[in-house]
């Protein structure tokens, strides 16, 4: 097994482990931190797969995103500390069955398909340069659409969340 496969597997197991912890722990802060570690492990997987720019971006984005999520979770959960041992799940067996089935189907397709030989990775500096050229060239419309969509979502989320005052 190559070092790349070893590190990809190591961080992958960490991502899955922390992903499971998200739904196993009763403390909401621990749950948010577990998701943060899971997403950071995914970022580390990107680095192991030589996608340096995406790896660093993933770690940076998720660190801020999950910190905000932790604050919202503490605000909105009825029992954020998990001290009351509240049951916050439903249809557990069906959910486990659906999750296991989806994982098995995806793993089966991955294992049974002949993907052909692996290609060599371009150097990190070239990757960033070519991604920039892709974003500002062929994929410009997608890039611009993503920007406008983010702006729209920001306005929509603020409009939905803002407190409405009754007219006198």
């Amino acid at each position: 097994m190559s070092a790349q496969a070893l590190f990809t597997g190591f961080f992958g197991v960490a991502a899955v482990w922390f992903g499971v912890v998200v739904f196993r722990t009763s403390s909401m802060v621990r749950s948010a931190l577990a998701l943060l570690f899971s997403q950071a492990a995914i970022g580390a997987m990107f680095l192991a797969m030589q996608a340096e720019f995406l790896g660093v971006l993933q770690v940076m984005m998720m660190a801020t995103e999950m910190s905000i999520m932790a604050i919202f979770m503490v605000m909105y959960m009825m029992d954020p500390g998990g001290l009351g041992e509240m049951e916050m799940t439903h249809q557990k067996r069906a959910s486990i069955a659906a999750g296991a089935l989806a994982a098995l189907a995806a793993a089966g397709v991955a294992a049974l398909t002949d993907w052909g030989p692996a290609a060599a990775a371009p150097p990190a500096a070239e990757q960033t340069e070519r991604l920039g050229a892709e974003m500002l060239g062929r994929s410009m419309l997608i890039f611009e659409t993503a920007g406008v969509t983010i702006l729209t979502a920001m306005i929509a989320a603020t409009a939905v969340a803002i407190e409405r005052r009754r007219r006198r």
């Binding site: 739904f23 899971s38 984005m61 999520m69 909105y76 486990i96 296991a100 290609a119 991604l131 979502a153």
Partner: protein, 102 residues
């Protein structure tokens, strides 16, 4: 090539865990966490396919950026809806959100 199979296997399991979370949790924030895990799994697959099969085509990396955008949008809109719901009903428990049921 081994690393591709490892990444795809991790993506598959991560997607399964996320799907379990999204279906089994009753709280809006926890459901969003499940969706985040599923999107994370999709990103793992996209990076693996880009890196090991088509490293010369940067549309693969672009696709990952789009998925990251979707994750951020999901968070923003989800928390907006959550805040509105919390103001109106004092809870974001989805078992209680049955107003739209026909």
């Amino acid at each position: 090539m081994m690393a591709l199979y490892v990444a795809l296997a991790v993506g598959a399991v991560l997607f399964g865990v996320g799907l379990y979370g999204a279906l089994s949790q009753t709280n809006l924030v926890m459901i969003m966490m499940g969706v985040e895990l599923m999107l994370g799994a999709a990103m793992v697959n996209l990076v693996a396919f880009w890196r090991f099969l088509h490293p010369e085509t940067y549309a693969g990396q672009m696709f990952v950026l789009v998925v990251m955008t979707v994750m951020a949008l999901e968070m923003a809109v989800g928390f907006g809806v959550g805040t509105a719901r919390f103001r109106a009903k004092g809870s974001v428990e989805m078992e209680e959100a049955r107003e739209l049921r026909g």
